[in-house]
């Protein structure tokens, strides 16, 4: 199974081609192809999860596939080298698993889409494939390619299949994310001009035979020679490889992002500036207050399955980018700005929760709760402690599951009544008891009730943030204390929503179109919600299922950041 990662990426893309070949009215076939492709992806990702060896090596990218893709000789500027470089480690593993899961759920949720089915499913699978690519790419260029590739299908999925203000939302989403990508692009180019690939350089400088694995000594020798300035110009092979960029020794002396160069721009070291740019780029995706306003609009206008994908997967790309690129490449800037990052995280937690408290639209409430919960990711990351970083990763995974549930729940209500306003419903527990039970599960999971995965994540994050001042010295304690307010607020808005919508005497606003019949869940909806609920419970009771797999790699990440700060 050497090609498992590539299959994960390209199965959906292949399915896109198949769907495009199918006749437009053959809707069942199109849906089945999409379901099959995503199911295959799920099976492969579960297989990947089971085959992933957590104990193997300290820095283990596994199932690596590395092919030269674009190679351009720029004469004195060296060699431009873009690779098809994919691999999986603990950090990406959880996200791959999540992507596999959520994409199947999303397909089931998309089953009722009736408008231009062919286009919808083609775009959907394109999106899924790009997300998967994003999580697996180890070449920055490849990552960026997939990152940008996600934008387009998302734009159309919101803009065509969305609600009444879909154009506004789609454009807002597009512009926000595009600005983020631009910032990332700037830093990517800067990194590219600064970093080199020691192994390929060795081959090019005839220090090692081609076609063989370059030994560590030769790599060290090349790094030494480049640092000494004896290897320069044409013989240096520039690289986009993220693992290469993570080592300070792989930066060309005198280049703008070399850690020793101390170049400054507006009195800020360029590396710090690059960190900030990258951080903002990914923070927009995460999203983080105050660059979060695309999220509520996009969520409210997007159709249910797309909301699910957006909340469960796309937001995670931002956090994943921080883990995979921003922190390891700029560890000293990360340490320098830890306070700032933590502060922004706490701001998101509290501000998002407060906004959620004031929302009258259930979907908006959940969207803001996403902002709040993703703040925990930042807080955990900023703490730079084992607990915090593991918690942040776990929060990404857990939020992926829980937010999927939450958005499906709003979809269920919207499907029946065409409204999502909290005030339009009372006492839904009477007409939809099973649904209400699942809503209670989802809400309590999201507000961090022990036993559900969200609790473990938030506990670890808060623990990390709290102990950070004593352990890594990153965050002051009050940040954690304020962040805990998010737990309280989370409980407040969820319980309030529960009270207003589901309890009390049964009543549905009479002016809703067609006097909706609030029937209980259909089989299809059970099929989406119940597995998610079970997973949320399982990962809440047995966090070792995931943490034991990912924590060695997260620890490696953490130690490399802490050593290089």
């Amino acid at each position: 199974m050497d090609y498992i990662l590539s299959s994960l990426i390209f199965i959906p893309l292949l399915a896109v081609l198949i769907i495009l070949c199918l006749p437009k009215h053959f809707t069942q076939g199109i849906k089945l192809v999409a379901l099959l492709a995503t199911s295959l992806q799920l099976i492969l990702s579960v297989w990947l999860y089971s085959a992933f060896d957590a104990s193997a090596t300290v820095q283990g990218y596994q199932f690596v596939q590395q092919l030269n893709w674009i190679s351009l000789n720029l004469q004195s500027l060296g060699l431009l080298q873009i690779q098809y470089f994919v691999g999986v480690d603990g950090i990406s593993l959880s996200m791959v698993l999540l992507t596999g899961l959520i994409s199947v759920i999303g397909i089931i949720s998309s089953w009722t889409i009736s408008k231009n089915i062919k286009g919808y499913f083609a775009l959907y699978l394109l999106l899924v494939g790009s997300v998967m690519g994003c999580f697996l790419a180890l070449d920055f260029f490849l990552f960026y390619l997939f990152f940008e590739f996600m934008l387009l299908p998302m734009y159309f999925l919101i803009g065509i299949w969305g609600g009444p203000r879909r154009e506004y939302a789609a454009i807002k989403f597009f512009i926000y994310t595009l600005i983020g990508s631009l910032l990332i692009l700037i830093v990517m180019i800067g990194l590219y001009t600064s970093a080199f690939d020691p192994a390929a350089t060795a081959v090019r400088a005839n220090l090692a035979p081609a076609g063989q694995v370059v030994s560590a000594e030769v790599v060290a020798e090349v790094q030494r020679q480049v640092a000494a300035g004896t290897l320069t110009g044409a013989s240096i092979v520039h690289t986009f490889s993220i693992p290469d960029m993570q080592q300070a020794a792989n930066f060309i002396p005198g280049s703008i992002l070399n850690i020793l160069s101390e170049k400054q721009l507006w009195d800020i070291p360029v590396r710090y500036l690059a960190f900030l740019l990258l951080f903002i780029g990914f923070a927009i995706k995460l999203p983080v207050v105050p660059v979060h306003t695309w999220l509520p609009d996009a969520h409210v206008e997007a159709p249910t399955p797309i909301s699910v994908l957006l909340a469960s997967l796309l937001l995670k790309v931002g956090g994943y980018g921080l883990f995979r690129i921003v922190y390891p490449v700029f560890p000293e800037a990360a340490a320098y700005y830890a306070y700032f990052v933590g502060l922004v995280g706490v701001l998101s937690i509290i501000y998002g929760a407060m906004c959620a408290l004031a929302m009258a639209d259930l979907k908006k409430l959940i969207a803001y709760s996403s902002v709040s919960h993703m703040g925990f990711v930042l807080l955990g990351l900023a703490s730079l402690t084992s607990e915090g970083t593991n918690g942040a990763m776990y929060q990404m995974f857990s939020h992926g599951l829980i937010s999927a549930m939450l958005f499906i729940i709003t979809g269920v209500i919207y499907d029946r009544s065409g409204s999502r306003m909290i005030d339009n419903f009372r006492g839904l527990a009477f007409s939809m008891p099973a649904f209400t039970a699942l809503v209670v599960v989802a809400f309590f999971a999201s507000l961090g009730l022990p036993g559900f995965s969200g609790f473990i994540a938030e506990l670890l994050v808060l623990l990390g943030a709290f102990s950070s001042s004593a352990v890594s010295g990153m965050l002051p304690r009050w940040l954690a204390i304020v962040a805990t307010g998010g737990l309280l607020l989370g409980a407040a808005y969820y319980l309030w929503a529960l009270q207003r919508m589901f309890f009390g005497k049964h009543w549905v606003h009479p002016e809703l179109k067609g006097e909706p019949v609030m029937t209980d869940l259909t089989k299809r909806e059970y099929l989406m919600l119940v597995p998610l609920a079970i997973l949320v419970l399982i990962f809440g009771l047995f966090p070792s299922l995931l943490l034991n797999k990912i924590s060695p790699d997260i620890n490696y990440f953490l130690q490399s950041v802490l050593q290089n700060r």
């Binding site: 084992s386 607990e387 009730l449 623990l463 004593a470 805990t484 737990l487 009270q499 309890f503 997260i554």
Partner: protein, 729 residues
């Protein structure tokens, strides 16, 4: 990192731990099954829930006899691990810890849970969501047992939250009633406020001592050396250096943990949720909001006793005393039977907490146990009364009268004699009359408080005596409100429903046996005899001896240092305190009862019994509205916060989004402007060039018109120009 310093586990210990686990999960399994399949099971599965709880109870008894005064069992398993540092791992464990206190609580919880479930079979009969009720109870029992069995603070916190959740479900069981749903929400949120403080306490301990495990923490604390305001802890397992912690930080950690107790045990200032929680079914109030869950705070204090510094204990004592007094005061003005009991619960919990604070650790636990029985009994009795009232109200199709208002009752001594005789011992125990269990425990707490005050005030500060004074004051008030409401309920004439038979199940039986048996058992257990062979002295109580700090804390009082031994010594020296306390408390209780009788008489003569109105005057109004704490929170915290939230949302919409949109609009305008420039300047220039070129072209075309003569003209013109050029230059 913190490999559990595992004592060699014998197979016996392992098996005991597994039995304990079985006790833990039995109610959960039953609850889950009933929840999911309840509708399909015969009798909606209540028998399943009761049977498993019964089984759990017997298993608990087995564990009790194995462990009590015999051994402690501590088994822990790795739950999940995080890699950290070079090679080490952080291990989060989950384990079972059985000692005297744990097994005692195990028995109490399973026992009361069993009784309450039996009681509920009739009480909740015909309820629309009958099986949900038993499912929720199962979940609750599971969570409560989890608190009791947990060997570390994290696990304890988890179950702590879970009991909050099951409490939320049960309070809001009748979710068609808005008040019930609101009460559930309020309970959960107020609990969460406390829990967050609890979390900080745990975090503080974890940050410096690197473990959640209670035993390890206790051991670590025990090794701490107090050096003038800071504690120095020697090298702990897996740590490089010794840890130095300031006294303040440790006090804060202790107060953090105490916050959990404040929330769950309804202490001042978070006690407001408990009266509202009475919206839940009465058996639930009995089990959760009287006997077990609310007492969990006291259990927590006992478990974490070594982590409290002297200052922390002082705060605990003050809060406890204040709560006891405030609860009692509020109870005097209530007329709702459940509200009275709820406030009395608050007051009694205040006693226990105060007991913990003053170092009367074992007395406090004794009160926990005795209170669990008599308060459960009171609530169940109240349940029967309410049930009867409902019955009558149903017969009369009376939907307006408040069936829980004691002014609507009266004369039940004759109508429901059995209930009366079950109610009185429990009430007497609550008031603290001799021969009843409450006397023992209350006496113990008050003695402890007095001794503590005496010890502390040796520096001349007599303010410490306020604590026992508050305690004694509460005794008086307790006597007053208990007597008063007993007179209202059981004496005189039935005010609302004159026909006694309407209130009874049938002519022969006042209520179903399933209601009466649990009540009877609990009433019997309100007698002091069961807790101490000498019903006048708590000193010989087997419970107190079993849960004394020497035994529970293995003789390590922890951060409070010499306080506990000093109190013991002080009490030993001033043995009169015990006697005086006993006499004084009984005296106060009797005075209270007499005052209650006077108040009842006065009401009867004034004829104000039948006027169902809220008190309008002065203090009683203040007490009736619970000192306006709710309104205070509403006005000072919740409303401003909601406004702030609305402000945040408006800020989001009107500022961030607005500025964004404005920015976008400016960009669009700019783009339009640039578009205009593009069209008129850039394009214009190009068009001009095109026009010029076209003109030239047209000129060229005019010349190249295919007419040979024109060509001739032009060539001649050219010639002329050439001439002119030559001539001119």
């Amino acid at each position: 990192m913190n490999q559990v310093a595992a004592p060699l586990l014998t197979p016996e210990q392992n098996s005991l731990a597994l039995w304990a686990l079985l006790v833990l999960v039995l109610p959960l399994i039953a609850g889950g099954l009933v929840l999911i399949f309840g509708k399909k099971l015969p009798r909606q599965g209540d028998w399943l829930a009761i049977a498993t709880t019964g089984l759990a109870f017997f298993l608990a008894l087995y564990l009790f006899f194995q462990v009590w005064e015999n051994k402690t069992v501590h088994v822990s398993w790795s739950w999940f691990q995080l890699a950290t540092g070079k090679t080490s791992i952080i291990s989060f464990t989950a384990g079972v810890y059985l000692d005297n206190l744990a097994v005692l609580m195990l028995v109490i919880v399973t026992f009361i849970s069993l009784l309450v479930q039996v009681f509920s079979v009739i009480y909740m009969h015909g309820e629309w969501r009958y099986h949900h009720y038993f499912g929720y109870l199962g979940i609750f029992t599971f969570s409560m047992l989890g608190i009791v069995l947990s060997d570390n603070l994290l696990l304890l916190f988890i179950f702590w939250e879970l009991v909050g959740f099951s409490s939320y479900l049960l309070i809001g069981f009748w979710y068609e009633k808005d008040a019930a749903v609101l009460a559930g929400k309020k309970a959960f949120l107020f609990n969460r406020v406390g829990d967050i403080g609890f979390l900080f306490g745990i975090f503080l301990l974890y940050t410096y001592l690197q473990t959640f495990d209670l035993t390890l923490l206790k051991n670590a604390i025990a090794t701490g050396v107090n050096q003038g305001g800071t504690f120095i802890f020697p090298v702990l397992t897996g740590q490089a250096d010794s840890v130095t912690l300031s006294y303040t930080l440790l006090t804060l950690a202790g107060l953090g943990i105490f916050c959990g107790c404040v929330g769950k045990s309804a202490q001042f200032p978070l006690q407001v949720w408990l009266p509202d929680a009475m919206e839940g079914p009465t058996p639930v109030s009995s089990l959760i909001h009287a006997a077990t869950m609310v007492a969990a705070g006291v259990y927590l204090l006992s478990r974490c006793f070594p982590f409290f510094t002297e200052d922390a204990l002082l705060v605990i004592a003050i809060i406890g005393a204040l709560t006891a007094l405030l609860g009692a005061l509020a109870a005097t003005a209530q007329y709702d039977i459940k509200k009275i009991l709820a406030f009395s619960t608050i007051s009694q919990l205040g006693y226990m907490v105060m007991g913990m604070g003053v170092g009367a650790h074992d007395a406090s636990l004794l009160h926990l146990v005795t209170h669990a029985f008599f308060k459960a009994s009171l609530f169940l009795n109240a349940g029967i009364v309410i049930h009867a009232m409902h019955h009558a109200a149903h017969e009369f199709s009376d939907e307006h009268s408040d069936v829980q208002d004691i002014r609507n009752m009266g004369g039940f001594r004759k109508i429901l004699p059995f209930t009366f005789y079950a109610y009185i011992p429990a009430a007497a125990a609550l008031v603290g009359l001799p021969l009843f269990s409450g006397f023992l425990s209350k006496d113990a707490i008050l003695t402890g408080a007095w001794a503590w005050a005496g010890l502390m005030s040796q520096n001349g500060n007599l303010l410490y005596y306020l604590i026992p004074v508050f305690g004694f004051g509460s005794v008086l008030l307790t006597g007053f409100y208990m007597a008063k409401h007993c007179f209202y309920i059981f004496f005189g004439e039935s005010k609302l429903y004159k026909e006694p038979e309407l209130l009874r199940e049938n002519k022969t039986a006042e209520a179903s046996g399933l209601l009466l048996v649990p009540v009877a058992i609990l009433a019997v257990l309100s007698l002091a005899f069961f807790f101490s062979l000498n019903p006048f002295s708590y000193a010989g109580s087997w419970v107190m001896q079993g849960v004394s700090w020497q035994k529970l804390l293995t003789g390590q009082p922890g951060l409070s240092g010499g306080l506990l031994p000093a109190i013991t010594t002080y009490l030993h020296d001033a043995s009169y305190i015990s006697l005086v306390t006993a006499i004084l408390s009984v005296l106060l209780a009797v005075v209270g009862i007499w005052l209650g009788w006077l108040s009842y008489k006065k009401a009867v003569t004034a004829g104000s019994l039948s006027t169902i109105t809220a008190p309008t005057s002065g203090f009683s109004r203040l007490a009736y509205y619970h000192f306006y704490l709710d309104a205070f929170y509403e006005k000072v915290i919740i409303n401003p916060f909601m406004r702030l939230s609305g402000g945040a949302a408006a800020f989001d919409k009107n500022f961030i989004d607005y500025s964004l949109n404005t920015f976008a609009k400016i960009m669009v305008v700019l783009a339009k402007l640039i578009g205009w420039v593009d069209r008129w300047l850039v394009d214009g220039t190009v068009h001009l060039l095109v026009k010029v070129a076209g003109l030239i072209g047209r000129l060229g075309r005019f010349m190249q018109n295919g007419k040979v003569q024109s060509y001739y003209i032009f060539s001649l013109l050219g010639l002329i120009l050439l001439f002119l050029y030559i001539l001119a230059f």
